[in-house]
Symmetry: C2
Subunit: 336 residues, 2 copies
């Protein structure tokens, strides 16, 4: 079985964005009644949004299941307040639940969190519980920068995050470290902010003893671990100079990279330097890059092709495509 | 000849830091007379600071010349005001000039700029002219984030920077895009802030037509180009989706990466995907990582060893070690 650990519902019916647009417009109107409201999307509209996109690509590329979450760039935790995020997040997660109910063999859910700039993530516990216990979701996306590019929250290793981590451990669900759109004009959302956040999170993990406090806490750093594998020697050296654990030891049961790296030489490097046990197959499809590479004739984000081309043993490929993901997201075993 | 394009004076005599400490302490005292002051460092102290470090490594590693600038992490453009930066920068650059005068065959100067958080870089023109015209420096380090990790300045492609670029073009000197220490606790100076800035700058260059406005403006993005080469497919795809030029065309005469990547697989990737004409040998020695890799027995930052191990033609190695650097920093040809 081939499990893609990184897919977002980037093709949701247009009513979802219309809801969000209206919600944002209401923020300017202090007298607006701020209720959860409703979203009228039919099952057929959901099917249509997926059949020509994610499901088509699953079939064409030979992948079986996608761990599926709301569109990351649209989480927008810097917009409005905690109530804004709560309503928006509930609708986004409800929709993922409907997708997973319609296509239980193709999608397993991961939730967005109602994080809010300046608000401690304790208020995300309830939504995590709802999604895991009521919907059967198997993880969450955690935004290390709810300010959208101004980086005003404490580092991920700060005790600020601990109550939320405690709940993750209790529920035995991992988090993908994933920022959202940036409102800082220096950054491009998918071109620099995403990768910078990945790199930033990993360095935070090097510096602190978070996994001594939470030995079973698990994070997936997406986009192939940001800049880390390319600079593996730099990070080995920085950890060594600072008398911190070896990278492999720090990562072992706690930190994992996906394979969202859109060319063969990048994937070769990733699998050469990072322990194979810490790599999960992922494609981010349909996501940041939608085009076809004229040099290969294939989609840039068809990352399975790059892995198929690697000289890995069958056992290692099985780990990468399935085994590691089952270990990191154990609740998937009840699903597929 | 082997030219290392990226070295900082990280081993300067302790009087330099003492000056800075006093300057920062004075910021808390509004009645302090804020004068340039003096720095009493003897030639012998300068020699001593280099003989056991940069010069020793040049000899041991077989490199000839280092393009040398003040310690990047100490630039601290977020500290104090424009006068603070002006005084601090003048002393730092004066010291580099003394190094280059004492060892004209080993070091060629690149200047720090008196950038200041919230102040347009027009005020850096005078110091650039002083260093190039009076000292014979051949380039500068330009900080895209003088706020030290809060990213409050406009992107490098904004007209905010144009008057400074105009002077760079007039003097025919390039800039290395190099941030300084971060005061944002999310970031580690050399572990994430540096690489994030590299990635951020490159994505800014993809998005705008800066090099149409300045066809001869040249930037070196250090640390192997941040996350870019590892994610070369992602950037090719992002540029393609956005109908921007091919990366190779955008970079050709304007954007260059150094080889500060501290392991062989990283350097292999860099030279496989990035045009060889756009790569300059650099080591960042003595810099971010000072240890010896127990797996190789060599210093992590001895990047020449990685390049020596590559299956490149003699012609390509000559470009990488010397030719490209002479092209990017043409004023070096009057020096060595």
């Amino acid at each position: 079985m081939i499990i893609d650990c990184h897919g977002h519902y980037t093709t949701a019916p247009k009513q979802l964005q219309a809801y969000r647009d209206a919600q944002i417009a209401d923020l300017k109107n202090p007298s607006a009644t701020r209720t959860l409201g409703t979203l009228n999307i039919s099952d057929d509209e959901i099917r249509e949004s997926l059949e020509g996109a994610q499901l088509k690509f699953q079939r064409e590329r030979g992948t079986d299941v996608t761990i599926f979450s709301p569109r990351a760039s649209a989480m927008g935790h810097h917009i409005g307040d905690a109530k804004t995020s709560q309503h928006w997040t509930q609708h986004c997660n409800d929709l993922i639940h409907r997708v997973c109910t319609l296509y239980p063999k193709n999608f397993v859910g991961v939730c967005q969190l109602p994080q809010t700039q300046g608000v401690a993530p304790t208020n995300c516990i309830e939504e995590l519980e709802r999604c895991v216990n009521e919907f059967g979701f198997i993880g969450c996306n955690l935004n290390p920068d709810p300010s959208g590019g101004n980086w005003t929250a404490p580092p991920l290793t700060d005790k600020y995050w601990y109550p939320f981590y405690k709940k993750m451990v209790e529920l035995d669900v991992p988090a993908m470290v994933h920022v959202s759109a940036t409102c800082n004009p220096n950054f491009h959302t998918t071109g620099s902010h995403y990768l910078n956040a990945d790199t930033t999170a990993f360095m935070q993990f090097i510096q602190a003893d978070l996994f001594k406090d939470f030995p079973t806490l698990r994070f997936i750093i997406p986009h192939g671990g940001g800049a880390i594998p390319y600079h593996w020697g730099r990070y080995r050296g920085l950890a060594q100079d600072a008398k911190r654990p070896l990278l492999e030891d720090m990562m072992r049961n706690n930190v994992f990279f996906d394979t969202c790296v859109y060319h063969l030489p990048g994937i070769e490097l990733l699998t050469k330097v990072v322990p194979i046990d810490n790599i999960l197959f992922g494609s981010e499809m349909v996501g940041a890059v939608r085009g076809i590479d004229p040099r290969t004739g294939s989609y840039y984000d068809d990352t399975k092709r790059y892995i198929d081309a690697l000289p890995l043993s069958d056992q290692d490929k099985k780990k990468l495509f399935e085994g590691n993901t089952r270990k990191v997201y154990p609740r998937i075993n009840k699903k597929v």
